[in-house]
């Protein structure tokens, strides 16, 4: 199954949803569902994202998310078949 659910803790600041959703869009990762809510700490929000990998590796999605300064931590909710995909990038002419 290529759908995974990740829980992302982010800084509760303006624009943070755009940072996360923009990353998914520009790297061609598919979001199936996305829920944002508060945590007990008013400075931190929680996003629960269902990502449909479609050829991307979960490792790479998490690594790219983790580069966002506003992302504090990422956890996979239900451990799926998290395995690195060898050479996922298709050939192309550029």
């Amino acid at each position: 199954m290529s759908i995974h659910t990740i829980e992302v803790l982010v800084e509760n600041e303006p624009g943070v949803l755009a940072r996360v959703s923009g990353l998914f869009a520009r790297r061609a990762y598919n979001i199936d569902t996305l829920v944002v809510g508060p945590t007990s700490n008013p400075e931190i929000s929680k996003m629960v994202i269902q990502v449909n990998l479609e050829g991307h590796s979960l490792e790479q999605v998490i690594a790219q998310l983790d580069k966002l300064i506003s992302v504090i931590s990422i956890e996979e909710l239900v451990e799926g078949s998290k395995q690195p995909v060898r050479d996922t990038q298709p050939d192309y002419q550029n």
Binding site: V10, E11, P14, G15, A18, R19, G22, R26, S57, E59, Q60, A63, Q64, D66, K67, L68, I69, S70, V71, I72, S73, P84, V85, R86, D87, T88, Q89, P90, D91, Y92, Q93, N94
Partner: protein
């Protein structure tokens, strides 16, 4: 923060604009490139009194690339400043460029007053939204009290980990409001903890893999220069005695004169460098990212090689190419740790690299970089670039635009030192050359700085020569004038049956480059005949109190070789049109 610096201004009341300038001073900024306008205007009043040198550019794009040139030469953050709306959007290209090439850059932009944000106010643009995809991070500051922390965090983020551009957008009212200045003594970000020290297990795994390898090659990228790890790299290479390739961003990371250096890999790499990667059984990847310009058709790239991938950015691991041994951390620390680990691994098992080295040296000797002189006796662009390199010497800093002249400058100039070759590698930004040279000269005023530019590139950003002339920044510019968008024309020659759609610039007729240069306060020279080449370069070298522009009017049809056509395999490298290397005579 790298340097603890408590400014004496701490606790003083001032407006946000002064707080911004005090923050930049506290961040040890010595120069910034910019151009004022309405929203940033409050900041320009305290800039007038600051110890920071502000260089007034003619276009904000020039400010951005100049800041990049400064950063690439010094290793420190480059700083540029612009107003809201079009001022800020003119920084978009340099920010994207800096993001692609991991350049530490801090861009300050004015924003319309916070009450006006979202109203389509005069000169309003959502520059934070616009730059989100390619900045390492960005800020929108709407309160004066938040300015010092945002600036401190911006410099911390830009210069640590994998370097990158950071934008700080500040609303005009935040600059105008009174605040108590408070420079943070340290920066802590919950979501930002770059891994600096590599895991010791990964180091010993890497050493073990190297000691088992019979055909290893060092695949060296720009990260080695960013990490100031050239000296350590040289020790590691000497220890193993394996061949080295340096990517476009890594030219100068390892001396070209070293016998183990096979040159640049990739689309216009040497036969030896490209083949070394293809035939290796191990790539020791140091601060490189398996860019498509290096790998060619990915599924056919280095198919028999195991991969060690050392990088400070975990997201580069497995991005394009699976890594058997990832090593995440600062490259200088990584290489420093790898040297003793490899020593003990080699003590147990010393592989014989002689056959591999011999075949690579044979390739290097059989297929050196070269070019043929135009049959009509006109000036060869490669010869111009080669002679500039020879005459000006290896301490010179070179910048380039993007295209054929860039590839020739990477091929026919010998680079011996890091931070002497500046170009736009990932982004491929035409127009980078002149403003980057300006910034480089400001960062290294005692070095000779040559911009090797194309006639197309030069016409995009040459207005900064006015800035150079007025601010005593005597750069030298070589326009390799083939009156064409040369690289596009080369592709049209090779892939579009010579149908030269919109690539003829006619720049031997218009503009008159020497006159244009003179009008901007520079010395304008011209050279058309091979017999005048050395004398013209020497004339340019003799002028050190003014910028110099030389219009080298070169043959139009010269092409960049070798070439791996886009989308094809590195195995299909061509050394000239329709000419492949003679593989049958090679033992690999």
């Amino acid at each position: 923060m790298a340097r603890a610096h408590v400014p004496t201004a701490n606790g003083t009341t001032m407006n946000g604009a002064t707080s911004l300038v005090k923050s930049l001073e506290a961040a040890n900024v010595d120069v910034m490139f910019g151009l004022p306008g309405g929203a940033i205007l409050p900041a320009y009043d305290p800039i007038f009194d600051s110890t920071i040198r502000h260089i007034l550019v003619r276009h904000e794009q020039g400010a951005g690339h100049a800041a990049t040139g400064y950063a690439q030469v010094t290793g420190r953050a480059g700083v540029c400043i612009a107003t809201s709306g079009p001022g800020a959007t003119n920084l978009v290209t340099p920010l994207m460029d800096a993001g692609m090439d991991s350049v530490p850059l801090v861009a300050i932009t004015g924003q319309v007053p916070s009450a006006a944000i979202g109203t389509d106010a005069f000169q309003e643009a959502d520059i934070r939204g616009i730059t989100m995809p390619f900045t390492k991070h960005n800020f929108l500051v709407t309160k004066a009290d938040d300015i010092p922390r945002a600036i401190a965090e911006a410099f911390h983020i830009a210069t640590t980990g994998r370097p990158g551009p950071v934008l700080v957008d500040i609303a005009k009212d935040a600059l105008q409001t009174q605040t108590t200045f408070n420079w943070p003594s340290k920066v802590e970000l919950a979501g930002y903890n770059p891994r600096i020290t590599p895991d010791s297990q990964s180091i010993s795994d890497a050493a073990a893999l190297i000691a088992q390898s019979k055909k290893p090659v060092f695949y060296v990228g720009g990260g080695v220069i960013k990490a100031n790890a050239s000296r350590e790299l040289a020790q590691l290479v000497e220890l193993l005695g394996a061949p080295v390739v340096t990517t476009l961003m890594a030219r100068g990371a390892f001396p070209d004169s070293h016998p183990l250096h096979l040159g640049m890999p990739g689309m216009h790499g040497t036969v030896a460098a490209v083949t070394a990667l293809q035939k290796a059984d191990l790539l020791i990847t140091l601060g490189a990212r398996f860019d498509d310009r290096v790998t060619g058709k990915l599924s056919t790239f280095a198919v028999n090689a195991k991969i060690i991938h050392a990088d400070i950015d975990p997201a580069e691991i497995h991005k394009n190419k699976f890594a058997d041994v990832p090593v995440i951390g600062d490259l200088r620390e990584t290489i420093t740790a790898l040297i003793p680990a490899l020593k003990s691994a080699l003590a147990k098992n010393q592989p014989d690299l002689a056959p591999w080295n011999a075949s690579m040296q044979k390739l290097k000797k059989t297929y050196p970089l070269g070019y043929t002189l135009p049959e009509d006796g006109s000036l060869s662009p490669q010869a111009v670039i080669e002679r500039i390199g020879k005459i000006s010497g290896t301490d010179t800093i070179f910048t380039s635009g993007v295209g054929q002249h860039q590839m020739w400058a990477s091929q026919f100039i010998s680079y011996e030192h890091p931070r002497t070759w500046l170009n736009s590698g990932g982004a491929g930004t035409m127009g980078y050359g002149v403003p980057a040279a300006m910034g480089a000269k400001v960062g290294a005023p005692d070095s000779t700085v040559w911009a090797i530019d194309g006639d197309g590139c030069f016409q995009m950003t040459n207005q900064e020569l006015v800035t150079c002339a007025l601010n005593n920044i005597p750069i030298k510019v070589a326009i390799i004038n083939n009156e064409s968008l040369g690289m596009v024309r080369q592709w049209q020659t090779l892939f579009y049956e010579g149908r030269y759609s919109n690539t003829s610039l006619e720049s031997k007729r218009v503009p008159n480059f020497p006159m244009l240069a003179e009008s901007m306060g520079c010395v304008g020279l011209s050279c058309e005949r091979p017999e005048d080449l050395d004398a013209t370069i020497e004339k340019a070298m003799s002028i050190n109190d003014q910028p110099v522009v030389v219009d080298f009017r070169v043959h139009r049809d010269a092409m960049v070789w070798p070439m791996v056509a886009a989308g094809t395999s590195n195995d299909e490298i061509m050394i000239a049109r329709a000419t492949a290397p003679d593989w049958d005579s090679q033992e690999l």
